[in-house]
Structures are given as C-alpha cells and as structure tokens.
C-alpha cells in the first residue's frame, strides 16, 4: 500500500455544496450510512447505500480521489471476501465486502470534504471535548487545536520523510536489501531524524504560537464560526429519519442477506 492511497482521505480545498455543509451535518450523514450498513447484511441495502453516496462524490468533486481510496481498499476487500467465504455463504461474503466498501466510501467522503479547521471548530463546540480538554490540558480548546494542528502538519512531515530517505540513501543506506531483521534496523536512520525533526518543529511552532498570545487568558474568540443553514437542517432531518427508520425496521423485521 503506497502513500498514494492516503490521497483518498486527504482534504481538498474546494467550495462545493458538500464542502460547505457543516461538519456536524456531514458526520451525522456518516452515521446515517453507518447504522443501516451495520444493522443489515442485505446486498440490496449495501448497493443502495453505496449508490446513494455516488452523487455526493460527484457534487463534491472528489470522485477521482475516491477511486484511489477504493484501490487502497482492494486488498482488504479481497481478504474480507475470502474470509467470509469460509465462515458463511458466498452471498454473505459479497454483502460484507460491500459493507466494507460502503463504510470506506463514507469516511473517505467525510474527510475529503471537511477541512481540519472546520473539524476543529466543530470539536470545539462539543461539550464533552471541551470538558476533557480542560481536565487534561488546562484549556477548553487545546484538544481540538492539537488535533487540527496534527492534521495540518502531516503533509510537511511527509516531505521531510522523503528528504530523510534521500539523505540517508546518499550515505549508502540501502532500504531494499538484506533479511527482515536488517531491513527493520535500516529504518532507524530514517525514524530517528524524522522524530527529532517533528519534535523540533513542534517546539518552534509552540514558541511562535505563544508569541502570538496562545492560549490567551480570557476566552478565545473565533473569527470564523460554524453556522447551520437550512440545507444543513434538512440533511440532518433526513439523516435522523434514516437512522430512526433503520432501527425501527431492525427491531420489527428480519431482513435476509438477499
């Protein structure tokens, strides 16, 4: 599995209707897909769930990247299929493989259309997160900030990782030679510099943030705020309906695999 597959989960800065939805709305949408997917093992349900997300992928202009995330999932899908062939019927194997793809798509769609900043803003509004953050780190917004900063730093660290590999190869390090033990040991000259670079960077960043008043004595204001718009409310309503109906059907009927 190469690094390209992670592209299927990376946020892309666009302004499509899907991107502009409140992250809480989108998360509820994920739940609305998750609940029926997990409650039922019916092939038609899975296909419906998968197909219903496709228009969202196109509106959100992330269809091509989604294909990449699917490619990432090929190996796991095959594994799930084969394992379930042995433990159940081949129909259930199909259904469960489809379920995996449905969930993969749902999460992929969420992360590709929700910026880490908006995620942070949403996390900031969740009382439980604020409480935990206050207990653990002393400030209510520290936890969500930690999360979003970590996400932002990933691409920079990826570049550094490549540079470290280049630098050590230039000293004769061969990562593709030797037995398993040697290969693992060969990663030490890669991991240690990377770790230290990450630590140094976070210290420099911390300095810079503190120099701009973080975290602040008084309450922190946010220039940008999340607003639930009518379209958010309608989607939230639909999501809640789907979740409600799924549970109701689950408790009243027995849905077979096919």
């Amino acid at each position: 599995m190469s690094l390209r597959t992670l592209e299927g989960f990376k946020f892309s800065t666009l302004k499509t209707p899907v991107h502009l939805l409140d992250p809480r709305t989108k998360f509820l949408l994920v739940i609305a897909v998750l609940v029926p997917a997990l409650l039922f093992a019916n092939i038609y349900v899975m296909i419906a769930l998968l197909l219903s997300q496709v228009p969202l992928l196109f509106v959100g202009k992330v269809a091509r990247r989604w294909a990449l995330s699917l490619r990432a999932g090929v190996f796991l899908s095959a594994l799930i299929f084969v394992v379930n062939l042995f433990t159940g019927s081949y129909l259930s194997a199909i259904a469960l493989t489809l379920r995996f793809l449905v969930l993969l798509t749902s999460f992929s769609l969420f992360f590709m259309t929700t910026s880490p900043d908006d995620l942070g803003l949403a996390l900031d509004r969740i009382g439980a997160v604020r409480w935990l953050s206050r207990r653990w780190l002393g400030y209510p917004n520290a936890l969500s900030f930690t999360f979003t900063t970590a996400v932002r730093l990933v691409p920079t660290l990826a570049v550094d990782a490549q540079t470290v590999v280049d630098a050590q190869r230039s000293r004769g390090l061969e990562l593709d030679k030797g037995n398993l033990l040697k290969r693992v040991r060969n990663y030490i000259p890669i991991l240690i510099p990377l770790l230290l670079i990450a630590i140094r960077r976070s210290l420099e960043l911390a300095e810079a943030l503190e120099s701009r008043g973080f975290p602040g004595k008084e309450g922190r204001t946010s220039l940008f705020q999340l607003k639930l718009r009518p379209v958010d409310y309608s989607i939230i309503a639909v999501s809640l309906a789907i979740i409600g109906i799924s549970f109701w059907v689950y408790f009243h009927y027995k849905i077979p695999v096919l």
Binding site: G216, S222, F224
Partner: protein
C-alpha cells in the same frame, strides 16, 4: 513641538542562564530602546542575541526555564511578572524559519490567530486581519495554504500575523536566512516602511550587515553574552571597525573597502555603511 520619543524597552543588568548550561547566555545587559528606533542586533554565533530577543517578548522566562537576573521593562511592564500572552500584545516576534511559524490552513486564518487569542470581538478581529493583510500586501494570498507560499510570502504573512496583534515593538530574528537576496531586501524594506507608517520600534538580528545597514540607525553588538558595542550604526562602524572585524561580524564590503583605502591614506572621512553612501563618498574623493 516634537518631544523625545519615550523609552519603550529598558534592561538593567539583565542576565539569563538556561537550565543545565555551563555559562550564562546573557549577562550584565544594560539597554535602553526608544520608540520608533530601528536597531540592528548582531554578533558571532552563540553571542546571546537570540536569548536577548526571547527576553523581550517573554519567551524567556515563560517558555525557557533558567536563572534570571536583573530587570527588564517593556512598555512599562516588568517581563518577569507577565505571561507571554500579555507581552505578545506589545512585542511581536518573527522567527527565522518562515515555515515553522505558520500553521493554519489558510493565510487569513493564520493572521486571525493572534487576535483570536486576545478574546476580541469578531468585528475587531475582522478589521485587524484586513488591515494587516492590506499593509503587508498579503490580501491576494488570503485563501492559500501557508505551505503553498514562497519563503518571502511566508515571512510577509508571518509579519501580518504579528501586526494583527498591534504591538509597538517587532523583533525579527534572522528573518531572511532562508530567503534569496532579492526577497530578503524586499522584506527588509517592507519592515522599514511599516516602521515609518505605524510608528513601530524594530529590532532585527542579522549576521549580514549590508542587508540592514540602509535602514538601521543603531547597532548593538554582542559577544559571549555581553554587549560590547552600542551606538549609531555609522559611528560604530567608523570607530570600532577593528573590533567588529575581530569578532567576525559580517561588516559590509563597502565599509571594509573604505577602511582599507583610508588606512593607505587614499580617502578620508566616515566609513560608509551601504552602497549609495559609499558611491557618493568615493565620487567625492575622486572629483577633487
């Protein structure tokens, strides 16, 4: 009638030793800085210039632990009694590495970060962000991600982020190390323009004097933790040239040239600090 600018930074016998260090990073620092000055702080590697800067905005002693001696007043406040977040309203800090001081997903959000921490109203934050972007020419970049920008653009965004805090002093610690010469000059010129427009006090740490010589009026030279020279840039280069050269400070080439010619008795007069003044001084000598 103009009145003397007020003293905005006062250090008395300031000293600091980091935890676990063999000797003090800075000691016996006596320094007085007035409003609207443009100061060049220089000295060989390890002389304590960065440590001194860290004291100015409170990173020392809040972020870095160690032993503090003496007194430092910034805008009337004693640094040891303030949190960095409070001092950040008065002293802004631009760091050497442009990339590691920007972290938001967009330029606009990054610039808004400082004022957000101050708990200001949303309207006030909006206004400050727009002003800062206008004055640094970073408005066209506002929706870009910091890692998509060039080094020079990043430093301008960093400046904007600092300006949004409305400080009276801005400290720039080797801000042009990673920039190419053309961009470095632009950043320095922009810094001076801002100083004039907004009445700021500027402290720049730099090895390469020629970059800053055109703008700085005063030079403070450090060595082994102490201040060894402090005065008007031109006069100091003139009178203490040998000291500076001996310390390994990167004196401007034109100053070096002039000193050599003066030693041979071929020119007389004050040492020029940058190309234009050197050219006119030499033209003067040759016109005779």
């Amino acid at each position: 009638m103009a009145h003397a600018p007020r003293e905005i930074i006062l250090a008395k016998n300031l000293g600091f030793q980091y935890v676990g260090a063999r000797r003090a990073a800075i000691e016996g620092i006596d320094l007085s800085i007035r409003e609207n000055e443009f100061i060049l702080l220089t000295g060989p590697s390890g002389c304590g210039k960065t440590s001194l800067c860290r004291c100015l905005n409170g990173l020392i002693p809040n972020f870095y632990q160690g032993e503090w001696t003496g007194e430092l007043l910034v805008d009337g406040l004693s640094v040891t009694t303030q949190l960095t977040s409070e001092l950040s309203r008065r002293v802004g800090y631009v760091f050497q590495n442009p990339e590691n001081q920007l972290f938001a997903l967009t330029v606009e959000k990054d610039i808004a970060f400082g004022p957000e921490n101050l708990g200001l109203s949303r309207e006030e934050i909006r206004q400050r962000v727009d002003e800062a972007m206008n004055v640094t020419g970073t408005l066209p970049l506002k929706d870009l991600a910091p890692y998509e920008l060039s080094g020079g653009q990043q430093q301008r965004v960093a400046l904007a982020g600092v300006l949004a805090m409305k400080p009276s002093v801005i400290v720039l610690d080797e801000p042009t190390s990673f920039l190419d010469p053309r961009t470095a000059e632009e950043v320095m010129r922009a810094t001076d323009d801002l100083r004039r427009e907004l009445g700021l006090t500027i402290v720049v740490v730099e090895h390469r004097l020629d970059l800053v010589a055109r703008y700085a009026e005063r030079i403070v030279v450090m060595d082994a933790g102490k201040i060894v020279a402090d005065g008007d840039l031109e006069e100091t280069l003139d009178e203490k040239f040998d000291l500076l050269e001996g310390l390994g400070v990167g004196v401007p080439r034109v100053s070096l040239l002039w000193t050599m010619l003066r030693r041979d008795g071929l020119v007389s007069g004050k040492v020029p600090t940058h190309v234009e003044s050197a050219a006119s001084s030499l033209a003067g000598m040759m016109n005779q």
